[in-house]
Symmetry: C2
Subunit: 258 residues, 2 copies
DNA sequence: TGTAAACCTTTACGCAACGGCAATATCAAG
DNA sequence: CTTGATATTGCCGTTGCGTAAAGGTTTACA
């Protein structure tokens, strides 16, 4: 089988332009060039392209990929591990960013009548007293060492009111759940209320809600002894009951959407 | 107070080049230009720069920042919320990426003697049978809906052996901890063993270990009723004891490093 | 007052990984 | 032979600056 740039592109889902670019940077050379100057690729090049795409999927740079696919004795493990480290670092940064954006949104929601100038007045004072470098440190000190994970930071950043609300919700979830377990019907009104309360409670810790994740976490309550013990303490089977209620709840929402 | 590019740069911690660039794209114009063509900035410009840096810290594009700081009636909330959505999306992608990289590393560790060609043989076959588009879908189906969160996926991706090891470790942590509580000395040998076992156990769920996060999570065991109940069930005070042991353990490691 | 250091200016290339367009050549079909 | 699809090279644009280069200005010190 021999392929031109477009054939190869269609097969692999990338553009002919990209294939030419890969030739240009020497990461994927054509098998040969025909009399009219067309690039012609063979099976070996298809294989190589698959490898390239695989590593590209892992978000490695083309430079790194080039080294991996070019020299078979390249220390690929090390490259992958280093890359993993970079990804983790990126994620930490992202988590911090998201928390900061959340904070900004909260501040703006709280006092939407303030003008931008006013809002930054306090912020600014500190900055000008010292310098920008200190500002950076301050932010980092405030939001904790970046090793602290996301949900921990969420809690640290809660206002006392939010914290009260969370603990109140937690109690309410339990009470409603226990009442619901008595009814024995995970599709019943009480059970559905418990599921919804639990959803609300979760929303305080999660940056975004999804049905799948909600089901996932309640499944974990059943699988993980620590959570199971907590929910089952007063009413055996409560963890499993909650999971069922949430399953039904999320399915019901789905039906309503149709 | 009047500032040249360098003065302003030192104050705010950014380079003169950046300041000139901000002038160029019209996001921060100097107050005036002196007879020698120097850019001169005043207090108003310092304020504006602080605003710009604030938004830049949230990773907004300079284009977006320009709109925010230029027009006071710009819908900033919407911009922030949209931006937040983008960040969350980015994080999901990153989580998937990290898991894929983890998988690749695991595969390579398992059969390090295989050549690249062999390793990709199976991978490749499927790809060539169908097309690249299907490949994309397959990856997504395999690694689950992207709403499922990172640690859940970690567990799903465990081998049965790993799973056994984790549950075994969990038991061992508890047993050692309970014995240690009896001794009453969180700096003692048993307590330190418990702390270390707990660290090992954690490592199965965390993508990276850090002392601060370890202390943080054991602190949470004390603060969160569910965790506290679990650890204190057989030996009241076990959660707090573990936290102390971990604190001492991490501090000790620090001393050894010196 | 001379001069060197430190500062300022504009212009312009470079970065990553392509997308998009232009000008031109080639191929297959009717 | 024309037409339309496809191929080629090459250059510009993207983001947010870093890093020169080539030159003018200010400041400090002998």
């Amino acid at each position: 089988m021999e392929y031109t740039v477009q054939k190869l592109g269609q097969m692999s889902g990338i553009s002919p332009r990209t294939i030419r670019y890969y030739d240009e940077i020497g990461i994927l050379k054509p098998a040969r060039i025909n009399s009219s100057g067309y690039r012609i690729y063979g099976q070996a090049e298809v294989d190589r392209l698959q490898q390239i795409l695989f590593y590209r999927e892992l978000d490695l740079s083309l430079e790194t990929i080039k080294e991996i696919v070019s020299s078979p004795d390249f220390d690929e493990m090390r490259a992958l591990r280093e890359h993993r480290g970079k990804l983790l670092e990126k994620r930490k940064q992202l988590d911090l960013l998201i928390i900061n954006v959340d904070k900004s949104i909260a501040v703006k929601e709280g006092r939407s009548t303030m003008s931008d100038k006013e809002k930054f007045e306090g912020f600014k004072q500190k900055l000008i007293d010292d310098n920008e470098e200190k500002y950076g440190k301050e932010i980092r000190a405030k939001f904790g060492n970046d090793a602290v994970n996301y949900s921990n930071q969420k809690v640290f950043n809660m206002t006392p009111e939010q914290y009260d609300e969370v603990t109140r919700l937690e109690q309410e979830v339990l009470e409603t759940l226990y009442d619901a377990v008595e009814t024995g019907d995970p599709a019943g009104e009480l059970a559905q209320k418990a599921a919804d309360l639990h959803r609300q409670w979760l929303s305080y810790f999660w940056s975004s809600y999804s049905k799948e994740a909600h089901i996932g976490v309640t499944q974990m309550y059943v699988d993980d002894e620590r959570f199971k013990a907590y929910y089952d303490k007063n009413r055996p089977g409560a963890a499993a009951f909650l999971r069922e209620a949430v399953r039904i709840s999320t399915a019901t929402i789905k039906c309503q959407n149709r």
